[in-house]
């Protein structure tokens, strides 16, 4: 069965600090997809990234970067030089290749303090 664990329920950092959000997943499939979503205070979920299981290359998008390691079943998300606007709940998610749905972790609430 598929499962996504975000052990950090809540994190607070001071603006401009770097912060890493952890995500550990479980799946029996060899082909799967991993996602990160951002949920700002408005409530709407915003898609950030999709990564397939065959691509372990780390990705960087501006201040955001993702570290995918199959050996540890982790897909961690790092925000560099955090800003107050980064304050949100962040969800890691997993979908198995033959599936039509995405399973989400419980989310990490990130507070960026000015």
């Amino acid at each position: 069965a598929q499962k996504v664990t975000q052990a950090q329920t809540e994190i607070s950092v001071v603006e401009k600090e770097d912060v890493t959000l952890d995500c550990v997943y479980e799946t029996r499939d060899t082909t799967y997809y991993l996602f990160w979503y951002k949920q700002p205070p408005s409530g709407e979920l915003v898609f950030l990234i999709r990564r397939n299981s065959f691509d372990e290359q780390n990705e960087i998008s501006g201040r955001y970067s993702w570290n995918f390691q199959k050996s540890t079943s982790s897909f961690n998300f790092t925000i560099t030089a955090s800003q107050v606007v980064d304050s949100a709940v962040y969800f890691c998610a997993l979908s198995e290749a033959q599936d039509d749905k995405i399973i989400f972790g419980k989310g990490t609430r990130l507070h960026i303090l000015p």
Binding site: L45, R50, S95, I102, F104
Partner: protein
């Protein structure tokens, strides 16, 4: 471009009353459609999903039901609401291969009193 509409944004309903939440997608055909619920302090729980008209998959037994009367319309219903049905309900759509993940609606905050 594709857009997803979900309404109402906020709803307060008494226990035992019926519920109907509607979600529509524009600008795409044959989308996969999903209903998620986010209870206070908890993650996103998949309630229902549909890969075609009239085809509904239920993920958890509950007091709710879903229907897809048209290709781009997805409705979440209940005949009698319970207090435990309170939460933030999100509709989402995707293409079949989940490329790009989901696109979510703006959500409905339901409070059952």
């Amino acid at each position: 471009s594709q857009t997803i509409h979900q309404w109402p944004a906020t709803l307060v309903q008494p226990v035992g009353s019926p519920l109907s939440l509607e979600c529509t997608v524009e600008g795409t055909s044959n989308p996969n459609l999903y209903w998620y619920r986010q209870a206070a302090g908890r993650g996103l729980q998949l309630l229902f999903y549909s890969i075609g008209i009239g085809q509904i998959s239920s993920e958890v037994p509950q007091n709710l039901s879903a229907s897809r009367p048209q290709d781009r319309q997805f409705i979440l219903s209940s005949k009698k609401l319970l207090l435990s049905d309170s939460g933030f309900y999100l509709c989402a759509w995707s293409v079949a291969t989940l490329v790009g993940g989901y696109t979510f609606g703006s959500g409905t905050r339901l409070t059952v009193v």
